[in-house]
Symmetry: C5
Subunit: 261 residues, 5 copies
């Protein structure tokens, strides 16, 4: 869905997009992912604009208290803690109307595809997607396959299923894991059709090159961009890392030619 009516437009620059994700405080807890610097949402919000991100994803509470209006906002409207060990489920904690009041241009919603509670999330996302449409917001699905039938959540089959589910359910964009190589990821991108695909950054990669190679692979596969958190704000030099990511994404920089610190 390209063109004027693309609800993802606010998040795009030349059709590409680099989104900063910062919902890990709820999903993983502060001690798991944060240090004294990045535990502070003000640091992240400032980083988002300084580093030229095209979007910033926050839970309602962080958005309400820290969002400065500089980078287009995605409010994640569901979430769960890593302390809850049952069958994966994440329920809506923020209304679409409230997200709008916080300045959101998109809502984010996690779907644990394959969970026994998959149907609850399909239903909830379905209603949210329609409310988002009414208000001119994009609906971005974080699709994470889980459950007994998911042996490997980065396999081509599973990742492409996540991408396709986002299309079938009416998302404007899908945040999915990387498959490990560009060719198989291209199948996921193709399965998503007109839905824009964002590679999920995931945990901090061993080396910058390793992560940038993933970005390169996703871009080559046709992804619109990446939604990244830890690989930026856990980096010792987040601005430089973001700069490299932008070069890969927007300037078609090849990874072999990258010099990292």
């Amino acid at each position: 869905m390209t063109g004027k009516n693309d609800l993802m437009s606010p998040f795009l620059r030349e059709g590409k997009s680099l989104i900063l994700a910062y919902d890990q405080g709820l999903e993983h807890g502060p001690s798991s992912d944060f240090d004294n610097r990045n535990v502070d949402p003000a640091f992240i919000v400032e980083l988002a604009s300084r580093a030229g991100f095209n979007g910033l994803a926050l839970q309602k509470g962080v958005a309400e208290r820290y969002y400065d209006g500089k980078v287009p906002l995605i409010v994640k409207v569901n979430g769960k803690s890593s302390l809850s060990k049952g069958e994966p489920n994440a329920k809506q904690n923020c209304s679409v109307e409230y997200a709008v009041s916080l300045g959101a241009r998109a809502i984010g919603y996690t779907i644990y595809l394959g969970s026994l509670f998959e149907g609850d999330m399909f239903r909830e996302f379905g209603a949210i997607q329609e409310q988002a449409r009414e208000r001119g917001l994009a609906a971005i699905a974080w699709v994470y396959p889980r459950g007994a039938a998911v042996q490997n959540d980065t396999s081509k089959e599973v990742v492409s299923y996540a991408a396709r589910a986002a299309l079938e359910l009416g998302a404007d964009a899908a945040k999915i894991k990387y498959t490990g190589d560009s060719q198989s990821f291209a199948w996921a991108v193709r399965a998503a059709g007109k839905v824009r695909v964002f590679m999920s950054g995931g945990p901090k990669a061993a080396t910058d090159e390793a992560f940038l190679a993933q970005v390169r692979g996703a871009a080559d596969a046709g992804a619109t961009g990446i939604a990244v958190g830890r690989n930026v704000w856990q980096h010792q030099d987040p601005l430089s890392m973001a700069e490299l990511m932008k070069k890969v994404l927007f300037e078609n920089l090849q990874v072999a030619s990258i010099k990292t610190t």
Copy 2:
């Protein structure tokens, strides 16, 4: 319910109907059913009109982004992924109102008859059917028996139960599996009463003749038509295959006289 007030009219030609089903991306995943060609909804939507289908069944997201208004639209308003392994259930992810806004003339809803969650689907379908009536849409039930008591979901007893449930619950049409022979399928058609019966195409048959014989058998049994997906769009020559199906259905072609490629 024949005549002017038949909500299925948009999908009928001489009282018969050939519907193209394309919700497999959600139900089975792209890697299970799709290749590089049929993974693209644009290919399917174009195929639907070029091949002269009388209806096209899509999930909301695919309808929203690809539907071209040429073939009457059925929006499937529930669904589940094949990764979710619990007791079968599929929850509504699209409102009837939204389906209307996408151009739907009918809604489709899957009922897993015999599931422990059967009652939830009965309730949800009941409400959707009433909303569909209010807006002049047909309500088509995909009735798939499942659960501990269902040993054989193509037996005469089970298939006719599916057909009858569609009648009792107020559907305008029922999509049910073929029993294997025309005589037993006729019992299912009779059990459905005034509800129009569509044979579910199912997985790609071993040979074209085998599939066309099923179509012949269903038609002879009094079915209104078939709702087919994989046997068309997984075929190397979908247009020819569709042509043969139409000959069987609309021109009473006998299968023995069919030449296939």
Copy 3:
């Protein structure tokens, strides 16, 4: 609640009532209970008026397509299939408003007393009963005890509990199983107080005399009437059988004097 304000009035003749039940297509499936004749709702609807029944109980879909307005209509607004093997529960699939639009003068609702889901049915019936009152419809409870504590669902204790639950919950009439003898059934009738009791016909009896003796016993016990299905429409001569039932019920015919075919 006799007299002008009795919501059951449409179903009464001289204070008695013979109701034809035809929801078995959903409850038991067509292959279990139907033959080529009685699988056709048109046959049943015509039979209801020709045989002089005082009421006809149908699910929404059958009522919508076949009801002819001749015999007062009861729309069963919940139901379940016999394929679903979990703890008994049956959820509302038809709104009271919709039942009214179909011409209903009463709604029917099954309560599985003793089920772990009893409370859900109490709540749902409670709301339906109030909606029915608002619109001037009777609320008829099909009360069927089930669950771990129900060893014998035709015992005096269990049947009278069913009857009483209907009274306590605000039903206008209760459909309950026969206890086997008139004296114990009289206790159930007494427990129901002002709520009208209908003996549930149940499966086809071995002989006509056996069934008519039950009708006699229920009538002698003070029941308002019977709600019968299979013992009429599975009979080779439904009209004659209905005639005999009417004689027992309305003309106080004793069973010993009955000649059956």
Copy 4:
């Protein structure tokens, strides 16, 4: 909450109250608690006024068909049968609005404190209490501790917890079991604070003296009154028994001086 605004006023005489409870038909079934006389609600309703009770507690259906307006009415808006053996839960089957239409001055609601479904009842009672306040009805909580942690539901600890829960949740009155002695029951009364405490009559006591001693003990402990059923209407002479109870409650009669038949 004494004085003009006390919603319990309709049920009080000199600040005391004797309530006749008759929801056992639903809770225990007719064969468990009733005989040919007291199975008839008309007998009970007449008894309530003839014996000078200050309140009468009925389920909606019995109230609707038998209530004569003479004694202030409490409509029990939830309940469950003794046939349902799962974790205790009782769901609302009567709206507050409907209870008002039946003439209720109070609603009654059972909370199984300690049940795994306790939270559902807290939530439901919470909403009902607010609706009752809006319409000027009292909200009376039947608080019965149940579940794995409740070894002895007449212990001082457990009974006082029941009383306190009624206060915390906003009830106007609490119906709780007797602890066995006046001193420990006084702790429950104190825990209830301004909430009026009614001793639950329970099953028929072995002797009249035994029961009247409980009434005496509860009154001495500061209870507002008792809510009694079986000890009155299972009594061979209900009027005399009620008379004795009134003497104990209103005239401070000591039990040692009571002559019973």
Copy 5:
């Protein structure tokens, strides 16, 4: 969120706050926590104003009958009893609108982070928080980690997770347990960001000094204050104890210099 728009303002004095918590009657039962004096809500309400508390937390029923308007009111809108032994969950029993009618300036809500029902509480709190915002009330989250993954609910990791969850979900303040030392508690305070942190008082400490040292530690860590119950109203001299707590909190008194009785 400091300044004029801080919804916590009514509860602050010089940016600090001492809140008296009295929901233990519901949470623990009267026999567990109360004696003849503090079982009386009137004693507590008077204590709150006499001792100069900045807030008072009560369940709806206690607030409705005892609150005197002198100290800003927090109505706890959910809760559970200690008799209920399943997976922790506490459901809303008081609407935000009703809390307002009782004079509340804030609502309190318990979230059992890590419970299998965490998602239900996230959703419920999410809706309550938005309703509170609309009416100008603060939303205070009691965040108590529970469940299989919570080995130690006072560890730095777990307590800081609780604090962070409150921020992410949009709370104005978080009531969390003390970690045992000021340094680790400072991490929780930092994780909470702009959300005000209240140390939960917990059970009566062995000595006054022990408890005051906790208060000192929390204050040094940057907490806004403490929410205390048992350590005050179970104290033989609650006023003196409160006085000492205020000195620690507002006058920066060091614990070594405290003389207790």
